[in-house]
Symmetry: C2
Subunit: 325 residues, 2 copies
């Protein structure tokens, strides 16, 4: 199934079911008003949503309309919780060099995950506001999962059964603040403004073999101002989503609608480019002696799209412009 | 005004208005189903809630019943966001010694605030479950504020006008995990299980002069298994709640219902005792050469109550038992 959330003046928006090819959509009226409600009542709602999705794909819903990404909020405009990992170790190694971080002896065995703000996720085409472009505005292209209720102590093996939906994410970041917040030990706050999401959340089965071992095995194409800078594949995620969920649920339960992110998609092969500017800059520094790609400023556009081999984009497109608050 | 949330089978619970003396209560039927809805619609809801509160206090509500804390969830069983500071520098200095943290040059000028989980706040009398008592189970007695929508860039001076309610908090902590998570730089996750709240959330005017300079000027009485270990006063909070809010809103807006915590209430005067065990232990270590107060284990009880000079407890009482998950 595929879902989107249209702006309707409420904080949670209105749930729409989107056709497999993202051409058409229909509101989930009478099943769930918003996506969070659908996830909270999944056992009851999902068979009804599946039936509606099938009718929509079969052109049996006369009231379906063209799918309009420009009406979309984030699939979950607000979520109970947002936990974002750094599960691509290639990214972690480069960022440690960029930030001159001290060595982390558990780098390969204990996932790094920060608790982020989930009260104000941004839509796929919304302008993103920042107070100051001297804060080194950066993007982070990621994949994520939306969970059902997860009991405390759930194992990595059990955790995958709690994954309801997959999402595609741009975790906006302010690099001038991040290193100070890391050193202070309390984690990211000012360094992580509101996170943005591609318009369509999908059930894992929609990816077929491209959902594998608890990983989204897709290339994430990232463009800055129309120039592709990244095409890294989700395959190299060191920790699976199951492992990330188990880490988060070790000392607490997670409630339905919790979103867990992969962290910046990153590959060891330099030809894959990068899903964030900091990575590009540290590679330039290592290879050429100086970083030359600038961070983002007012008017810059960031586009992110993951593609199946047939060229289709299962999550739709993130295409945002950086603006002054 | 004073508010509580009764368990009614929903995730957000049912909003009740509580009398000033916490003796009686009445549901806010027809005004707001839950406290979050009341905060989101405050301009419309608050005059109606104020009228109901006045009638309740004047014994003019025939359907009022005895206030029953045993029916209470946290005032906000889930909130859009939870941002917890360490605004009592006496606590911060002691914890830096306890954890052997490196010096933080901005200790007195930039508040330390971590982003916590807000999807699963615990009620005042609920058993608190932990997976393992070797994780050094500890409490943190705090005050907090619940906010209206706060625009990005709000100043400390403007921020106080966004404070809708005051709350009293026990920020449960696992000290065996905290130092590792601080060193890793991504902030607390496993070290901060679900946070608990006293049953009653109150508007700042309810405290009279005891809400002053953006601080809750009340003693917080903390007991472990019936023995009082802390009676620290909120007066010594180094950063005001206005300053904390401004810090949080520097690079993003905060949505209505966001909770900001003070961090462990702590006074320089050793006679005030401590609102967490780690502080007690580091003082023992400094004064007596060895920590002897143990962390908590199964069956231990923690009670927290802040008191006005007349002995009344404006937020009610947190009284929880530690149990194995």
């Amino acid at each position: 199934m595929k879902f989107a959330t249209y702006h309707d003046g409420t904080r949670d928006g209105q749930l729409w079911v989107v056709s497999r090819d993202l051409s058409r959509a229909i509101p989930a009226t009478g099943i769930a008003t918003c996506l969070l409600e659908a996830i909270e009542t999944w056992d009851d709602a999902s068979p009804k949503l599946a039936a509606l999705y099938e009718r929509l794909n079969n052109f049996e819903e006369p009231f379906a309309t063209r799918f309009e990404p420009e009406r979309c909020l984030a699939p979950l405009p607000r979520a109970p919780q947002w936990l974002d990992a750094s599960a691509f170790l290639n990214h972690g190694r480069l960022m440690d060099k960029a930030f001159d971080n001290p060595p982390n002896p558990e780098f390969e065995t204990i996932p790094l995950i920060y608790q982020g703000a989930s009260d104000d996720f941004r839509g796929p085409l919304a302008d993103v506001e920042f107070p100051d472009d001297k804060l080194f505005i950066d993007m982070e292209g990621e994949f994520g999962v939306v969970l059902s209720d997860v009991p405390m102590g759930t194992s990595a093996e059990e955790a995958e059964a709690h994954i309801r939906l997959l999402v595609q994410i741009n975790d906006w970041s302010l690099r001038a603040v991040g290193p100070r917040e890391m050193r202070a030990g309390f984690g990211f706050l000012q360094a992580k403004p509101s996170t943005a999401f591609a318009p369509v959340a999908i059930t894992p089965d929609e990816l077929g073999d491209h959902w594998s071992n608890g990983r989204v095995v897709l290339k994430l194409h990232v463009e800055i101002n129309g120039r592709e800078v990244g095409r890294a594949d989700g395959r190299e995620m060191h920790f699976s989503f199951g492992q990330l969920i188990a880490h988060c649920a070790r000392t607490r339960r997670l409630t339905a609608g919790t979103v867990v992110g992969s962290g910046t998609v990153s590959n060891a092969d330099r030809a894959a480019g990068s899903s964030c500017i900091s990575e590009i800059r540290v590679i330039e520094l290592l290879d050429e002696g100086a970083a030359r790609t600038p961070f983002l400023t007012w008017g810059d556009r960031v586009r992110m799209e993951s593609r199946l081999p047939d060229g289709s984009a299962p999550f739709g497109v993130i295409d945002q412009r950086v603006v002054k608050a």
